[in-house]
């Protein structure tokens, strides 16, 4: 082992001291910075990932739309299902309607779907009732809309479509379509939950006088992340259709999440930078405290580069151990995140925001190896520099000065 490495280890961890103050405080400081950075990044990744999943599950991986209703949707569905990237395709139709129950009414975004499709995304977000009960006389309502109409599972609602208004204009008696609520939908997307009304596609076609046509097709893809590329490819063969990948459907929302993550990373970066300066100042005072020893080492013939290595290595060790401990700490915090959040909520008297606002069962997580790699490398770089800068100052002094001033 080179002498400067041996001495660096001894100076950091002097024999006979289980927890040397300088090393312990510095390593804990780095660990806290790294852990904070990683916890924030991982939770933000989790929120982003969860939102992306919900967008995909609510709207499909790719929406096939057209300026006019699709005349023969079954043919197109069969054709699209043959594509190697498409795992499922299902036609839908949608339109606004007035939903009413007694004295309460609301605007419903009615969607006609295939209730027999096992890949129907709504199946995952049933909050009450049963999806499989959906038939021509039943409807699934979004939670917000159901609350607005004061209905529960088993209650009846009326849907008034624009087609009925046309009948009224023609002097015919407009009869509303009556449905029994068979399930409540809760996706976590307010705009979906406040307006959604799902009925079978066949029934939708009847009410809207759509015939065999459909308004669009929902595609599920083998690789959802490749939706943009698949959409571009499919668009080439279907100039009359528009293929909208899920990334495009809620682009502003996704951009907002990404921007939020970037801003938080920036803030965490500044916090880590401040922590690094504090480590730098600790190392600086340590180097000054050891100024006389630096002079002695120079008097013994140690070169500037070796003296730099001695203190740079100490910074590197602090960074490496702090980063390792920070990884463990972050992992521990993330494992017990719900208990920690519960304790915080209990202290501040807040409700479960994750469930009530975000409608997640628990704080979402998504581990990204790049975040860990970036945090580790950044910390190692900063702590090594924090050791090198004061060492450069110390090593550049004449041995006589170093020994005299200490």
């Amino acid at each position: 082992m080179p002498w400067f490495l041996h001495l660096a280890l001894r100076q950091l961890f002097p024999p006979g001291k289980r927890f040397p103050a300088f090393a312990t405080v510095s390593i804990l400081g780095v660990a806290l910075g790294v852990a904070t950075l990683l916890v924030v990044q991982t939770v933000m990744n989790g929120f982003g990932e969860e939102h992306r999943n919900r967008i995909r599950e609510s709207f499909g991986d790719c929406l096939v739309l057209s300026a006019q209703p699709i005349a023969r949707p079954e043919e197109l569905v069969a054709q699209l299902r043959r594509d190697r990237e498409v795992t499922s395709a299902t036609a839908f139709a949608e339109g606004p309607a007035l939903a009413r129950r007694g004295d309460f009414s609301g605007v419903a975004a009615v969607r006609g779907i295939d209730p027999t499709d096992p890949a129907q995304p709504a199946r995952r977000y049933i909050h009450g009732g049963t999806f499989d009960d959906l038939d021509d006389g039943r409807v699934i309502l979004g939670l917000g809309l159901a609350q607005q109409l004061r209905v529960r599972v088993g209650d009846k609602v009326e849907l008034w479509s624009p087609v009925m208004a046309e009948r009224a204009e023609k002097g015919k008696a407009p009869l509303p379509a009556e449905f029994e609520v068979c399930a409540i939908l809760r996706t976590g997307f307010t705009e979906v939950d406040n307006t959604a009304a799902l009925i079978p596609l066949r029934r939708f076609r009847e009410i809207w006088h759509l015939g065999p046509r459909a308004h669009g097709i929902i595609l599920r893809l083998r690789t959802p992340a490749q939706a943009e590329a698949v959409a571009s490819r499919l668009n080439v063969g279907h100039p009359d259709l528009v293929f909208r990948p899920w990334q495009d459907i809620k682009r502003n929302f996704l951009e907002a999440i990404r921007f939020e993550k970037t801003m938080l990373f920036f803030l965490m970066f500044i916090i880590t930078l401040v922590a690094s300066f504090s480590i730098g100042s600790t190392l600086f005072s340590a180097v000054i405290r050891r100024s006389r020893e630096v002079g002695v080492l120079a008097a013994l013939g140690a070169s500037q580069s070796r003296i730099l290595a001695l203190f740079g290595l100490q910074g590197l060790f602090i960074g490496a151990l702090g980063t390792g401990l920070g990884f463990l700490l972050a992992w521990g915090i993330l494992c017990f995140r719900d208990s920690i959040l519960g304790a915080i909520n209990a202290v501040f008297g807040d409700g479960d925001m994750v469930a009530s606002v975000y409608q997640f069962a628990r704080v979402p997580l998504h581990y990204d190896a790049m975040d860990f790699l970036a945090a580790g490398l950044f910390t190692l770089l900063v702590t090594t520099l924090a050791g090198l800068v004061p060492a450069l100052w110390a090593a550049s002094r004449k041995p006589s000065e170093a020994m005299r001033d200490a």
Binding site: M1, W3, H6, L7, R10, Q11, P14, P15, G16, R292, E293, G295, V296, L297, A298, A299, L300, G301, A302, R306, K398, P399, S400, E401, M403
Partner: protein
């Protein structure tokens, strides 16, 4: 005629002060031969330590030059720090985190000696200075006299031709100082080293071959 091992000519050194440069050494010349011991006395602040640092290459003179004997003739001391010249400081200057053995071996390791060989040499030298049973002790658990013995062993490990000792007994009680001084002079004599001893003690100075006094920035015979 013994070999010339230390040669200083016309050394001058001044330190910056608010009122202008403060001259410490004006014109100092010194020749030291192999096996010769030289003492330098002077009042506090007369520049004894500064002179020793110039002689050892720890500082650069404003004027003049210093040369010490190297393997290929006389060279500037800063080119062979830790090897041609051995230092013994008043405050021992040991690394507090290293044991006595490691402190001594460190000087050899810095000079590029392999670890095992450096440790063997250090063990032998510590035995020579009477600390064979204190190898694994940290400086904090050694007495002042023992620390100075470790420092002496460290100064000797790279087989220097000149030993520069800056008040090596300044921090020791009378009895320990006497023991350390006896040991220092005995080792220097046994190994044929040149010694430049800076001391306040007239008694210790009397034991050297040549006695000098530094006053007004000039070196003169006592």
């Amino acid at each position: 005629m013994p070999d010339l091992v230390l040669h200083a000519v016309g050394l001058a050194k001044a330190f910056a002060a608010p009122a202008g440069p403060l001259p410490v050494l004006v014109d100092v010349s010194l020749e030291v031969y192999a096996g010769e011991s030289v003492s330098i006395r002077g009042s506090s602040g007369s520049g004894k330590t500064t002179l020793l640092q110039l002689l050892g290459g720890l500082d650069q003179p404003d004027a003049g030059a210093v040369q010490v004997a190297g393997p290929r003739g006389l060279v500037e001391p800063r080119t062979c720090l830790g090897q041609g010249v051995g230092f013994v400081f008043q405050n021992y200057q040991l690394m507090p985190e290293l044991t006595a053995l490691e402190n001594v071996a460190l000087a050899a390791r810095i000079a590029g000696v392999p670890s095992a060989l450096a440790s063997a040499d250090a063990r032998e030298l510590l035995g020579l200075v009477g600390l064979g049973d204190r190898l694994a002790h940290l400086p904090a658990s050694l007495s002042g006299g023992e620390c100075q013995r470790v420092a002496l062993a460290r100064a000797l490990i790279n087989r220097p031709v000149v030993l520069l000792a800056d008040e090596p007994t300044g921090n020791l009680d009378e009895r320990t100082a006497e023991e350390v001084m006896q040991l220092l002079l005995a080792i220097v004599a046994a190994r044929g080293l040149a010694l430049v001893l800076v001391t306040h003690s007239r008694e210790f100075a009397e034991r050297t071959d040549r006695r000098l006094v530094l006053s007004g920035g000039v070196l003169s015979p006592a």
